[in-house]
Structures are given as C-alpha cells and as structure tokens.
C-alpha cells in the first residue's frame, strides 16, 4: 500500500516518542507516522527492574497509547529502504510511505562477543523487545547460577536486582579493574563494589569470559584466569553500537565515530532527514570529539531539538555538545555522574583540580531518613570552570546530579558555586553552613 504522511519517524524508542510529541506541539497541523519493528517495546532504563522491583514485566512496557491519542499513526513494520530522490520509505510489508520530513531513530544494537558459545540458549544480549525480555526474566527465575557480563550501569543494575532473588549465585564479570570505570573515579567504584558484595554478588574484576560452554543451553563459562564456573543464564551488559544500516545504504554521511553525521539541529547531510538518539553521532561537550554516549536522556534531548526544528529552526540549541549524565540506584545507594571524572579528564589531558564533600543529607544529621552523601567536583585548574561531578548518597543524589549538570551546561566557575544561593531545609538538605556543592567548591583550595 501507499501512504502519505508529513512527518515520518522510524523507530519505537523514547526518542521516537519525544520527536512525535514535540512535533505535535510545534506543528499541530502536520500528520505524523511512526514505523516501529517491535510489536511491544520496553522503557529502556526500566529493563533491569523487570526482574524484581516491578511487580510484573508488563509494567515496563513502553506506552504508545498517549501518542496515538494525539493522532499519531503507529505502524508495526520494518523500514528497509529510504529512497531520498522521491522522499519515500519502503517497508518489509511492501508498503511505501512518502514523507516531507523523515526522522531516523533506529537506536542501537547490543554488543555481542565473537567467542565460542555466545549463540547458546540462555545467553541474553539486551534487546529492547518485550517478548524477548520476558523470556529472559522467565529463564532467570528458573536459573541457579547467573552470570552478568559487564560492570557498567546495566551490569551493575542487573546484578543488584538479581541479588534480591532467593537462592541464586550471581556473578558480575568486568574486564577492567573496577566497576563503572567510565563514569566514576576509583573511590566511587569501591562503594558500588562493597554494596553489591554485601548483597552477595560475586564480583570478578580484571576478568574476561573466554568461552561459553554447553550443548543447547549455556552450562558453564570459562574465564581468563583459568576457572570454569557453572552458568544457567548469561546476561550481557556490554553496551551498544549505533544502528545505521538504513542511513548508510541511502548515502547519508557518517560521522567520525560510529553514528550518523548530524549538525547542531540533528539534521543529517540531507536537510529533510533528521537523526536522533543512539543512531546519531554525538560531539563531546568539552572536546567536540566524537562521544558515543547512549542514554535515553540524551536521546530525548536530541529528539526535542529535532521535533521543534523539523520545518523551521525555532528552538536554538544553546548547549555546546553532549555530556554523559547518569544516575543509578543500588538497593538504597544512589550513584550519579556527570561530565568528566578526574580519571577521564586526565586521560583527555585536561589540567584539573578537585573538591570533595562528605556529610549527611539532612540537618541536624540525626533527623529521620538521613543518608550519607559524598560528592566530588572536577574543575579546570586554570580557568576554574566546572567539568564534572560524582555523587554517592540517598534519593536526593538523583536530582543533585542535575544541579551539577545544569552548572556544567552553563559553564559555572568555582567562585560561582562558592557563592551559589540555594534552598536548604532540615528534612531535605545539609545545613546552609555545609551545603554540599558549595563546600565541595570551597574545598578546591585544599587541592591547590
């Protein structure tokens, strides 16, 4: 069949939904169609929580009803070809969609390992498909020995959720010498490690999986240290690679990294085609180098820029590039990171100073519900500009990281943070005499 739509979006993740939502606000007269290939998708950041925290996996289904109510047409199909000359997209079902503006939001594919046995049953790379993940959860519930590969955010969150299940042996295997190595400095990695170890997770650092063994199902994995351990399920949190085949095959420019090249307004080399989210190239906030951050929060920020600017550049992009900004929750311990760590800043050859804070997130500290809080800020030594922050604490850390994120995006200096006017309250924050970000900024003096 032949369909005609003003705005065509390929993809079914958060970026796709946000492009549609935003475009509906800015261009209410335009018709919008989404083509997505998975019948039921999931909320990406909720995937680990399908195991234990959510009462049932169905609670993590990515909702499309709100967007359909807005009048967006949602088709389950697979785009297989973009014909830029006549501005059409051809699908697996043989349908043809003509568009005025096309948005590619094809996301990423989970990284797989080129090792023996990776194709065995019960080895699960994280595909964002509900039926697939539901089957993974079923297999996990029946398993005794569960291996999580990769000590990044996904791996850590999976290990934490798995540790809440009874009578399982949980292993978390990371190739580097600490957990969350890209987003935290060692003293924060250590906090995560202790927390998970206290919950019974077996953490193997500096360790590689060399083979996955078994007949039909996985039965054991063999490690770089020579050990062989039993395994009924292997969950792979190894990151992703941009899904760019469709864009490449229609001749769109690629960036220096692995994503589709886009300008500040998410326009590809074809001005009627936009790309957003994991499939689009990103430039680092501090260096402008390619920075393959794959996060729903980044994807949705890009989607808002694209959605508002499809027909005219209405919303001026005022940020300089992509920052990594993350948070996670490990059984009561919140860890969050934004921008550069001291480690990554030095690797990038920035000259930096740091300021630290440790305290309680209430005042007086003996009020109910208080949590310890630990903060580290990283500044450019010479220019005094904030470049990164790490927080470990209770629930409040989830928004503290966004204060730091706002400050980085606005080039805040040490002295601005020192003289920051903030709200404090006994039940909500440290005392005004000891407000975390202010004291951390002041404490840079100790590092100078």
């Amino acid at each position: 069949m032949q369909f005609s739509t003003d705005i065509l979006i390929i993809g079914g993740g958060p970026a796709s939904v946000v492009v549609a939502n935003t475009a509906k606000k800015y261009y209410p007269q335009k018709s919008i169609t989404i083509i997505k290939d998975k019948k039921i998708g999931v909320i990406p950041c909720g995937i680990p929580y399908m195991i234990y925290s959510l009462s049932k996996p169905e609670d993590n289904i990515m909702p499309f009803d709100a967007i359909e109510k807005l009048g967006v047409d949602v088709k389950i199909d697979r785009a297989i070809k973009i014909k830029r000359d006549d501005k059409t997209v051809i699908t697996e079902n043989g349908d043809i969609y003509s568009y005025e503006k096309l948005v590619i939001a094809t996301g990423s594919k989970p990284i797989t390992l080129n090792i023996e046995g990776f194709n065995l049953k019960n080895v699960f790379p994280i595909f964002k498909d509900f039926e697939y993940l539901k089957q993974m959860v079923d297999s996990i519930k029946k398993a005794k020995n569960i291996i999580v590969l990769g000590g990044g955010f996904i791996g850590v969150e999976f290990a934490d959720e798995l540790s809440n299940l009874k009578d399982k042996n949980v292993y978390l295997i990371e190739i580097k010498d600490r957990l969350l190595p890209n987003s935290f400095d060692p003293e924060f990695s250590d906090l995560v490690k202790s927390k998970l170890e206290n919950k019974g997770v077996n953490i193997l650092l500096d360790t590689k999986v060399e083979k996955i063994l078994g007949k039909e199902n996985v039965e054991r994995v063999s490690l770089s240290d020579g050990r062989v351990i039993d395994a009924d399920v292997v969950v792979c949190g190894l990151g992703g690679v941009p899904n760019v085949e469709l864009a490449k095959s229609c001749g769109l420019d690629m960036g220096k990294g692995k994503g589709i090249w886009v300008d500040e307004y998410m326009r590809t080399s074809d001005r009627d085609i936009f790309a957003v989210g994991d499939c689009a190239g990103k430039r680092d906030f501090f260096t402008r180098r390619d920075n393959p951050v794959m996060l729903a929060s980044v994807a949705t920020a890009e989607a808002r820029i694209a959605g508002a600017n499809l027909y005219e550049l209405k919303v001026i992009r005022e940020n300089k590039g992509t920052i990594g900004i993350f948070s996670t929750y490990i059984s009561g311990l919140v860890l969050a990171s934004v921008g550069l760590t001291e480690t990554s800043a030095k690797e990038e050859n920035f000259e930096v100073v740091v300021g630290n804070y440790e305290g309680i997130d209430k005042h007086p500290g003996n009020l109910p519900y208080g949590s310890k809080i630990k903060i580290k800020l990283v500044f450019s030594k010479q220019s005094g500009i904030l470049m990164g922050g790490q927080v470990a604490g209770g629930f409040s850390a989830g928004e503290i990281i966004n204060i730091i994120g706002m400050a980085i995006q606005k080039n805040v200096s040490i002295t601005e943070l020192e003289t920051f006017q903030m709200a404090t309250h006994p039940y909500l924050t440290p005392a005004p005499t000891k407000y975390h970000l202010v004291i951390a900024a002041q404490n840079v003096l100790e590092d100078l």
Copy 2:
C-alpha cells in the same frame, strides 16, 4: 580587659560561623574572635523541629566546637559600641577588642505586635536562644490550645509539628487570604492548606488577632471576626527586622530598606567593616530594589563572600543579587519556591508566561516510593528568561528547587531548559520522555 584580634565577628548565627570558617581557609595566619551574646544558640531552620521531629531540643543546638577546634576564639559577651576611629569594639563586660577587620553579623529580631496582651506569659516570638526555646517547647507540651500566628514558612512548619502532638487544638492564623502568600501562587497555597487541615490544624485566613487576653498567662485571643478562642500558648511566626542599632550608632550608612548598606562584597561604607546576613541590606536579583529576604541560606552565601574577601577581593561575586529560595517539608509534602511567583512577577509589572508540569517522580510510576510532583515555571514572555519556579512533591523536590535556582542564577532561557541534558533513572526521576523541568518549559507553548 583588652584583647587584640585580626578578624572580629559580632554574632552567633550561621553567618558568623561561615565567615569564620571561610576566613580560616583563605587567611589561615589571621587570628579570629567571635563575640556572641547568647550562651547557647540554635540552628535557625531546625527550630520548629525541636517540638516533635527531633528526639530532644538539645539536638538543635548550634555547634561551635568545630570552629573552636580551628582556633577561633569564641566569647560570650555583648558588643555595645564600635569605635571606628581606633578600630575597637567595647562590650557589656567592659572588655575592649581591637580588630583589623570587623564583621557585623547581628541578625534580626522577631517582629512583635503592638496589641494588648502581647507581653503575657506563653506568648512566644521566635528568639534564637536555646534556653528560651526550650521553655517554649515545655509550655507547648503542657498546653491544650495552641495558636500559631503567621502563615509563612515558620508558621506552617510550627503548625505541622504541633499537629503531630496528641490532644492539642492547633490554630494557624494568617492575615492574608492564603498560606505562604509571598512564595507561592494560590494553587500551591491550597496544597499546604489541605495537607494541614487533613492533619487537624484549624486554619483561619483573612484573620487578624486583635487582643491577647489573660491575667499573667495568655488565656484567650480575640480575633478580627469577633470570635474569642482559648489559647494556652501563642507562637508568633511574623518575620523579623534587621538588628542594626550597633551599626547605626557608629555611623555606618543604611540602605534604602531596613538593613545596613553593603556593596557587592558585603563591605559597609567603612571598608574595614563588613556586614552579612539578616542585618545586611539585600538587592533583588531581578529588580535591584531592596529585598529583605531573611534566610540562613542567603546569610551563609553572603558570609562566604565576606570571609574570602576580608583582606583582598579574591572571590568575585558573579550573581546579580539576592533571590528568595526556600523549601519546606510538611509531613511528607515538600514545597519549594525560588525567584518570582506569577503573582509577585505581575505585582512587580513583569510580563510573564508560565509552564506547568504534573506527574510522578519515578518511572514507571508504580515503582515503590513514588510521589506526585507539580511544578510551575515563570518566564519573561519577551526575553524567554527563567524568573521563578515552584515545586510541590516528595523528597526530590528539595534539590529540584536548586536546579531551578542554578538556572535562574545563570539566566537560563526556555529553549535551554527544553534542550537540557539531565540524568534520569526509574527510582529517582520521571522518565526521560517526561522530565519535569523540560516538560514544564515545553508547556509554555500552551500559555503563548
């Protein structure tokens, strides 16, 4: 006796402590002396919580031991005269202190009413003196009928704490037609009112106390609507006036408001004398008019500026003036406000637009510990600059208000908020597709 000190600080509140702390960091060689007239002071924002939340009133004592350990000399005495010519201060005990740099941090006095019976026993304006407040708490515990005068932050927090005590009749009396009228728009005031009413507080709006009746102790109060109600204790949360007698009598310039005139670096008209906190004049962030905000958070920000800049201007003040930035916690409901409300912006004749958000602070919303969250942002219509924000929600609201505060202090625009890169996590924030500040900014479109 005659004492000689490099830095002399008059006052015993948070601003005094922070000046001493900051000066110790920036000028470690200098000797520092604090003169304070109350033997035991209290943490100002913790005062209401001495009634119920803290296990004993002693938990709210303002600690001075940490500062004494740093080598700061703390004297219990009362400064009665500043002799600027010979750079000395004379005290009630007859001692004379010579200084190089003097910091006036004399705070404020609680407002009292010029009505019959205000001097009766068990009528308590909020003096920040531990022994006095302990006596107030004792009287409250014995009382049956308790009246709180003033529906601002202090009044609301007192009413909430009192409502946790058994077998008390609690009245909250406000002269205006809603609670927290200076910091919130009506829809937020209504949330506080419902919350307190559900906890059994009797709220009387548009109501004035005309007389306080009784022989020695307060027994009844007579109201503007003609009613007379029983009262065993009256707590007065009516705000404060700057304590400026000492500064005035030595000839320092006064500002256009009620505080001591200071420049951007908290220097008074005498360059060797600084003033910080409630006693110092403040200029509004948006209009530069006098703005008598009395908050420990503002006082401590000023104290950091003064402490670092006593001998040399080392820390450049990059903010434009004082913003009101507040948060409070009413039995699980957090309310927070920064900058201008829609009401106050219009009163000041700003042309504004607003953006609203309502949602849940977790995603999916059925994860444990979720709270409803409601946000309103106020922007300049023409320039698109953020001028204020109000938040009602759970614990996360206590730091969300500081993201908005950071954004205001950095002149963030609607489009910057729309394209803000933030961290999101199922347990910590709404979904990236629905992050509160971003959606509120986008929703300005609906108001345009």
